[in-house]
């Protein structure tokens, strides 16, 4: 591309959000070194070509899309720069994935403190979205375990940020949607493990209230808590589901010992019920409709999981944490229209009534989520973070290929519900929230963020379709 502009010579690529229901075409480059990255940024700035930073493309909506402009694929920079096995501290380029990290660290007894439901997101994505895991109520979000990071800003300067050094900027970059600069290095603190397995207890919860109570009763003791909600259950059974609580094993507690730390012990099974994992989505597609999911949910709720006599079972970290990775390409079960996830975050005081209203609203509209995932969260200090002292319920909806107006109307009402209940939005999942609603939910935090953005990136080099929609650029 030397000698010609990025606009004229960078290849085009059609990119989509993980939900496969939003896509765009943009120019696309994958620099493989900090120098190459800096050169691309300089050229983009000179051409006034807005840049979006993209990792594994695991944000569900349009967070890593940049219609007509430039997408920089950060997966070309995926080296583990340093690893301290004594302290469990890793220095990573931003294209390193959660999967790369645990495969490197777990055999030496360290597990990433915060992981999402899939191992594919990159460090850059985890920082930009301040992702959370099933231990958020206890460990906080990903940003709480970042010790330091390097930020390459639009002026070509690299700044090293930490909770101690330029803390305000550090707290704006984490959860900053990649709009303030490129994170080129992240130093993260991992957690000590004595076993590659967790002790897991499934708990049946016959109502939404029971699910709230089950989680609330265990937040001080369990290391991980997550609820699955049968969104088709109605009446007295509204919000019924299953809670899984999991505990780390203390030294000597696992009969198989440290052998379970080996990566080979962690790999997900190659087949499910005899079907190769890569083909499972094809078997699920014909039953991914209201009728099929209703009955699948019923079966999941009533058929007990096999456990030991004490009602628990041992499960590898990966099998417990990365449920979304069991079925590769699972997003394809939703068909050509894809799906969207609406994750509702509400404060503790309004969550019980709010979630009940949300589930009933979906049922009244005849647009019922095929998957409901329930979590407890704690507040954090990052400027645009979705985190709050409260609860979240993630709802997955298939997007009809034609005439999806009923779904869009529902999402508008869910947004209204979140605003009235004092909740927040999670950009990693969002593809529908409008700028006014986002500003109302985040208040003066948006103004403060935009002031920092103006200072660091006055020409608006870093952007995205989502940032334009949310009024952040």
């Amino acid at each position: 591309m030397a000698g010609s502009t990025l606009r004229a010579s960078a290849p085009w690529k059609v990119l989509d959000g993980f939900g496969a229901s939003v896509r765009s075409v943009s120019r696309f480059v994958r620099p493989e070194s900090p120098e190459a990255l800096a050169a691309v940024l300089a050229r983009a700035a000179a051409e006034s070509l807005p840049v979006v930073l993209r990792g594994s493309g695991r944000s569900y909506g349009d967070a890593s899309l940049n219609t007509g402009a430039l997408a920089i694929d950060m997966r070309g920079m995926s080296r583990i720069l340093a690893w301290d096995a004594e302290r469990g501290v890793a220095d990573l380029e931003s294209g390193v994935t959660i999967g790369d990290l645990w495969r490197h660290s777990l055999p030496q007894g360290w597990w990433p403190t915060v992981v999402p439901g899939t191992m594919h997101p990159t460090m850059g994505g985890c920082v930009a979205m301040n992702i959370h895991g099933k231990n958020c109520y206890r460990a906080g979000p990903f940003g709480d375990h970042v010790l330091e990071l390097d930020l390459l800003t639009a002026d070509g300067r690299t700044r090293t940020l930490s909770p101690q050094h330029e803390p305000e900027l550090f707290r704006a970059v984490i959860a900053g949607l990649g709009l303030l600069g490129v994170v080129t290095r992240v130093r993260v603190q991992l957690k000590r493990m004595h076993s590659g397995r967790l002790r897991v207890r499934p708990i049946q919860t016959p109502t939404l209230e029971a699910m709230f109570d089950a989680l609330a009763a265990r937040t001080s003791t369990a290391d991980y808590l997550v609820g699955w909600v049968d969104c088709f259950a109605s009446g007295a059974a509204l919000g019924r589901g299953l809670v899984h609580e999991a505990h780390h094993l203390a030294e000597g507690e696992d009969p198989l010992g440290a052998a379970t730390l080996a990566a080979s012990h962690q790999e997900l099974p190659g087949s499910i019920f005899g079907v190769p994992r890569s083909l499972v989505w094809r078997f699920l597609q014909p039953i991914t409709n209201d009728f099929g999911i209703r009955w699948l949910n019923h079966a999941k709720y009533v058929v007990p999981e096999p456990t030991d006599r004490d009602g628990t079972f041992l499960q590898s970290h990966t099998a417990f944490a990365f449920l979304l990775d069991y079925v590769p390409d699972w997003r394809r079960v939703y068909g050509p229209g894809g799906f969207l996830q609406y994750q509702i975050f509400l404060p503790d005081a309004t969550a019980r009534a709010g979630f009940r209203e949300a589930l009933q609203l979906c049922q009244r509209r005849g647009v019922v989520s095929y998957l409901g995932v329930f979590k407890r969260h704690r507040a954090d200090t990052f400027l645009l973070s979705h985190g709050l002292d409260g609860w979240s319920m993630a709802l997955d909806f298939p997007v009809p290929e034609h005439d999806a107006e009923r779904l869009w109307a529902l999402t508008r009402d869910l947004t209204q519900l979140v605003l009235e209940a004092g909740g927040t939005f999670y950009p990693a999942k969002d593809q529908v929230v409008d700028a006014a609603s986002f500003a109302r939910a985040f208040g003066d935090r948006v103004t403060r963020f935009k002031a920092i953005k103006q200072q660091l990136d006055p020409a608006g080099v870093f952007a995205s379709d989502q940032a334009r929609r949310l009024g952040l650029v």
Binding site: S4, R7, A8, S9, V14, R23, V25, G68
Partner: protein, 248 residues
């Protein structure tokens, strides 16, 4: 199903089939960007469009493929969208006996293949993201076999047909209609020097059949007119030892 085109780009619109397609689209109320290498001819075509037609004439040489991305973006913006791209630019040279002219051969590949790849590739990316749109590539029955009388042309049309088939296999699953049309002899400037022109039709007749094929949707590959399909079937199945003895 019958598609109605509202915004179209016709590459190779200064004469022949491309000019006829542009005129018919404009007559149907479609906003058309007409691209051609020769400005005077292009202006003549624009002048022949129905009164009130929305036309954007652009002087463009399809051998300048580096300029395509920016020009494509500009045209989509100027037209206010895009739902049809027609690639009708073509170059044909019939070498004399014993003539081996790489420059002429190369030009046919540049015009008939590389130009088509640049324009239809840009359109495919745009349409895949939108999950709709139609791409029409004007190939030729000449691409069915490698012919001794026009080696580079038949090679280029075989390559174009393969490219369009690949594009169809790539993007039809995303709702994009990729149409390959393979005309026989059409009465255009490109064919005036040919001595044998059986079953020849006018450029307007070819354009009409091509647009009808495109409007049907379903990513077809069609001979224009359909009778050439039978000829192609026979020619394709002639044994090589026989085909090389024919003066084709």
């Amino acid at each position: 199903m019958s598609l109605r085109f509202r915004h179209a780009v016709v590459v190779g619109a200064s004469s022949g089939i491309g000019a006829s397609i542009a005129r018919m689209l404009a007559a149907d109320g479609c906003a058309v960007a007409l691209l051609g290498r020769r400005e005077a001819e292009l202006q003549r075509v624009v002048a022949s469009l129905p009164a009130g037609a929305r036309a954007i004439p652009v002087v463009h040489d399809v051998t300048d493929q580096t300029g395509v991305p920016l020009l494509f973006e500009r045209l989509v913006a100027d037209l206010g969208g895009l739902d049809l791209l027609v690639y009708a630019a073509g170059d044909m040279h019939v070498p004399e006996e014993g003539e081996y002219d790489f420059a002429r051969d190369r030009r046919q590949i540049e015009v008939n293949v590389l130009g088509a790849m640049a324009w239809t590739g840009a359109a495919a990316a745009h349409f895949e993201a939108r999950r709709s749109g139609t791409i029409v590539g004007v190939s030729s029955i000449a691409g069915v076999r490698g012919r001794r009388t026009m080696p580079a042309y038949t090679t280029s049309k075989a390559a174009l047909s393969a490219w369009l088939e690949a594009l169809r296999n790539r993007v039809s699953r995303h709702g994009v209609n990729v149409v390959t049309v393979k005309p026989g002899f059409v009465d255009t400037a490109m064919t005036t020097h040919l001595t044998k022109k059986p079953m020849m039709i006018s450029a307007d007749r070819a354009a009409s059949l091509i647009l009808a094929t495109a409007r049907r949707g379903g990513s077809p590959s069609a001979y224009i007119p359909a009778q050439w399909g039978l000829v192609a079937f026979v020619v394709r199945h002639l044994p090589s030892w026989l085909f090389r003895r024919l003066d084709l």
